[in-house]
Point group: C2
Chain length 391, copies 2
Amino acid sequence: MVWTISVIGLGNAGLPLSAVIAENGHSVIGVDVDESRCAMINRGENPLPQEIGLDELIRRHGGRNLKATSNYEDARGSELFIVIVPLFVDEGNNPDLSIIEGALRCVGRVISPGSTVVMETTVPPGTTAGPVRGWLEEESGLSLGEFYLAHSPERIMSGYCISRLREFPKVIGGVDGVSGEKAFQLYSRFIPNLKKVSSSEVAELIKVMEGCYRDVNISLANELFLIAEELGIDFYEAREYANHEFCHIHMPSTGVGGHCIPVYPWFLIKEMERRERFDSVRLLRTAREENDGMIDFWAERIVMASLKLDLPLSRVRICIEGISYRAGAKGLYHSRNFALARLLMRKGLAVSVSDSLYSCEELEALGLRAGGAEGCHISFDPYALKIKYNL
Amino acid sequence: MVWTISVIGLGNAGLPLSAVIAENGHSVIGVDVDESRCAMINRGENPLPQEIGLDELIRRHGGRNLKATSNYEDARGSELFIVIVPLFVDEGNNPDLSIIEGALRCVGRVISPGSTVVMETTVPPGTTAGPVRGWLEEESGLSLGEFYLAHSPERIMSGYCISRLREFPKVIGGVDGVSGEKAFQLYSRFIPNLKKVSSSEVAELIKVMEGCYRDVNISLANELFLIAEELGIDFYEAREYANHEFCHIHMPSTGVGGHCIPVYPWFLIKEMERRERFDSVRLLRTAREENDGMIDFWAERIVMASLKLDLPLSRVRICIEGISYRAGAKGLYHSRNFALARLLMRKGLAVSVSDSLYSCEELEALGLRAGGAEGCHISFDPYALKIKYNL
């Protein structure tokens, strides 16, 4: 059976999802504000080359089973609307729902009685049944019950979206019982490993909790790494043998970047602090602050490495070998490695940057000096956490 | 080949270890200060009936292959001395090494050239190569090299010691290369799944890191539980679906008790704070404080449950259904459930306690009132975290 599904947002998460749905034999309308990206997809070209397996799916379905458009009107008549647009936090770390609101209001104008809307964007618990429902009702003139609404958090990982969608357990929860059942039936046609949970709030909390687990455990790894360094003990050897069936110590890092892990804990921290439940988020807040503070530790390490050089500190050339938030995934949102490069520059140090994911022009447009490790006294690989002397 | 191994400390960890070594065909001298416990073991009676499989081993080897004694002289001539005595923290949460020092000084007096000493007690990293080595050298008049010294942290869990020793990976690390190799060879005769690590410090840190992982993750579970309660979302349902291959959210609790998890983080916290590295233990300290503070949350919950009763608060009878630090394991060291009962009593509430592991006489000797849920208005099961109305 061929039927129409709309996916709102063709970004890192939405495009792989659209392609997988198309590959399952459904016709998909993908809506994105970026017209040149839409044109590219319709020509069968993949704007996310790092996604394993996506090239082939876009080549096969782009412009055919998967039609990209910037016009919400093209989505009118769809049985299922999937909203998977970005959510950022503002400078005070409060979630900024404006992009979501804009998308949902547009969706509200093109849904019909019987339509099902599923939020995929990770949101603070209560968002789907609260503001999202409100925006849809206002714009459509319909009431919940005339349309259906559920949340199914994306659970992808950049680079591995396709396999995640095919294999990884995915949850879905409705804002009411009928919505949950309806959305579950529709999603089951293209998500093989799908679990229905009792409400959209549970589905929302599941995803946010996963992010909190990661953030706290990365902070724990960073703290244990700092302690081991202070004690002169090899953290990596200890970690290898400490980990077993019941122990999962993570890897240390320069902190946590990207759109997910450093963002989700704030959803809970800010909501609890608004309710004056300060004691209920102390661990989450400490972890967040410690992860963000790791660049100070690494900046100090890099400066201290200069002690061994017989040179004025201002003349020590330092190369930061990567500014992306994660090795192999191009992206600067909350990237601690980009923040580290800027921190060292602000201190007045001679910093250059090399990153195979960014051209010299791109680096310079970011206010950085492009240049490889070979011309520098000291280089730092922020993914391997290795400081090296080169000259 | 039959040879002699001494185990110093026949407590919850040392006795199962002694029995497993005896079962492997070696003759074991077990040294313990508690003479009545020694006599019991030599009669073939098991003082730890909750240890699965231990009854049979003690019956078979007690007084035969496994001889218990309070006299260190009986251990003289042993090839291997295993020290597995308790370590507590003092009121300021600093590790109190006095029991260990006492045991090691006694061991020092009975070792001979060629003896190997292995510390099993979990200790702050550096203890084995530092003070332990010092005590042994002082008392024996020997130098390291004339005897061998290593650390192999016990990795048992009360109730499951025997299977843990038979199956679970165990690590061992020497204070020098020869000690590590020697201790590894000796331990390989009775520990099937043994890994050699590069130093005693690494072995020490491995065990302390595991404890920190547990403490922080229990604190995270408690925090997420508090948040879910505040939001009116079922934490347990969210946890079930949040957990997968890469996510291991623990269970919430009244806090963490026993000799291990609530103690080990302090080893690192106190050492780092002594070195003025306050920023390196913020997460560990926050987790420790939050876990200890969970009894305040549960005390408030119990008091709030009284709101529904048409009775003066002082006349509401409350039953705490368990004071042990963990369900099924008798023990009060840092038990948060015992602390909760006392906290409620200090508030002036009418508290009784029932716990199948403790007789009425034992409860009363602890200053508690013995009494079951059936005579109380409200009962609280601290293991299931369930508050119930009974009258």
